[in-house]
Symmetry: none
Subunit: 197 residues, 4 copies
Amino acid sequence: MPKVNPEPEPTPPSQGRPRSKDAHAAVIEATNALLEQLDYPNISVDKIVLESGVSKRTIYRWWRNKANIILEVISSDDIQEPNTGNLEKDLTQLLTRIFKRVSTDKRAQVIKGLVMDAQYDPEFATQFRDYIHSRRQVCLNILERGQQRGEISTKHDPALIADLFYGAYWYRFLIGHAPLTDAYAKDTVKMILNGIR
Amino acid sequence: MPKVNPEPEPTPPSQGRPRSKDAHAAVIEATNALLEQLDYPNISVDKIVLESGVSKRTIYRWWRNKANIILEVISSDDIQEPNTGNLEKDLTQLLTRIFKRVSTDKRAQVIKGLVMDAQYDPEFATQFRDYIHSRRQVCLNILERGQQRGEISTKHDPALIADLFYGAYWYRFLIGHAPLTDAYAKDTVKMILNGIR
Amino acid sequence: MPKVNPEPEPTPPSQGRPRSKDAHAAVIEATNALLEQLDYPNISVDKIVLESGVSKRTIYRWWRNKANIILEVISSDDIQEPNTGNLEKDLTQLLTRIFKRVSTDKRAQVIKGLVMDAQYDPEFATQFRDYIHSRRQVCLNILERGQQRGEISTKHDPALIADLFYGAYWYRFLIGHAPLTDAYAKDTVKMILNGIR
Amino acid sequence: MPKVNPEPEPTPPSQGRPRSKDAHAAVIEATNALLEQLDYPNISVDKIVLESGVSKRTIYRWWRNKANIILEVISSDDIQEPNTGNLEKDLTQLLTRIFKRVSTDKRAQVIKGLVMDAQYDPEFATQFRDYIHSRRQVCLNILERGQQRGEISTKHDPALIADLFYGAYWYRFLIGHAPLTDAYAKDTVKMILNGIR
DNA sequence: AGGTAACCGAGACGGTACGTCTAGTCTTCTA
DNA sequence: TAGAAGACTAGACGTACCGTCTCGGTTACCT
């Protein structure tokens, strides 16, 4: 489950007017709408206020900043875990899918923005890493199955392998010096597996 | 040569009052000073104006924004290329040095900021990639020497290997889910070389 | 009543945080202070920001520019309407007072600045004319009383007379080719009254 | 002759390269061109530089600022002095012509700008007053002829009459509270003459 | 014929103001 | 006490204009 902020959480158990589900939904919906039209830097809390009709005060009561809102929106996207019974196939498929998504889906670009904001906001960085971990788990699961099937030795730390695997992706994704092609996915997986077989 | 912006560059070909070396130097120096005290988001062109005594107009005449100024400052830092005669040693040393630098030198954190700004500023992204390329070249040189010495096969594209190599670094550097330890450097290099030997 | 902007005006009808009286007062006070030290062109919104401690954003929320702020400050100065029961005396007294004020009160010079800004800012020109009208009304009142007392015929349009009256003032005030002396006031009134008796 | 700046003046009698007539002419011409398109505040020395091809340095060598340049341009416009043999006719004609000119000729609006700049630039104010005096002389000439013909008594100071006369014009011109109509011209003259006959 | 003083263009420079923008907090009223 | 409305501080942004300056180069006058 990739849920990062499954419920608006700090729902106070105590008395007083309870949190409005409407307000929460309106914010999420408005942010979703803005994500279709604007890139990350051009989305602002003010615009979410305008689009959602929810007041700034309310927004800041439940989220620390725009990064948190967007992270929550993004977190609800679900991911599929390839499971073909073959390690190389699984990994290649996973990487290929990621590449395709961030190459075609304009909306996926927003992850860049989240990385940005995580750089100098330690609190958000922690939350963002939770999100990253949930995605990363997919790779770790695949690797574990591979080890169980004996396709790769258990000598190597899956975490390290995952770092190489995702590193290949993030590096090109954020620096943009070369495209995220299917060939790159295939070659990367091959090379990594070669090194640990 | 790691120089990215070796001369203040847009030296106009013809007449007119020449660009002031003093002003240029003052900006660079002021930026350097600010880099010691503040992190990237807290540095602003306004502060550089204040610190340098150079007018805003002049700054914007020569740089598009703070990212450009800081890139120029950072670009002048020079890098050493390990050359021990042994591929694994060279690569490990290179990665270890990078890790040590970004882990200890507060100033190096600024690279995170540059990556940030490159995400949604295509013009700057191009310049930033030039910088990245100049750094990356070090790895490519090492790999080429390794191939010439027959330590690794020439079948594998050095660019791809460099992507894995730097990917391992950038991924942990930007996501921060795990530390950039010497062990991580060693293991990464080993695993990559295993895969291409 | 010489009040032009009796209340901070654009009082929003409905809810939301009300306009800060403190901020408003601080701006007015700061502007008043600046008017003591600087002449019109050397007063800037930036300086009012600095002096008042009120943020730029807030200032621009309530005033279009420095001319509007200063107009509001100036508008609160009240004027006395001479009423001696004699037309010539009233007019002479009015003109003499105006002359004395703009000749001695450094602060009154600021009106020149407002005239300046009104020249090429139609929106402000309208506001400034409201101010002018409120001052001009004093002369019109005096003339009306004179007509009621039969001191001058009712054939002549008071507005026209006021134009001559104030024209004599503004012309020398703005062009500065001759001083605004008591003699000039006396002679002007005499000549105008001669023409309409 | 209304010439205010008849020659670029400070032509040094000594040796050295003489002032370029071309540069002078180019500035005047460019300013004339700009006056057709832009209003006073939107004309800047920088734009004159651009339009004329004359360097800033050269411009500032010969003029103190944009007000001086424009004053020189404006000063070359010549004026006609009505001389019908009848005082009232002359004055009415003069005022009517002025009103028509400033009401229709967009270019004449620039005088407002000059008045503006004269307010807080004493040195320019002096020059501007010279210009004003040359215009004002027309009225004084007419009045003198009227006195010589015995149309008005010589008791009244022509200067004072001229102040009333031009005051009526400048007041409406600069404050803009009422239009400069023919009727206003006629009534003004009548009222003034009434007072001094 | 040479020297030289003053010119000229191009354009960089410091200074300063402008008006807009965003983030995140605070205040009042209403439900 | 939640929420809507919206005012508030702080401070960055990039542009504009002013008047001064620094170049390299060009006259015209005077010896």
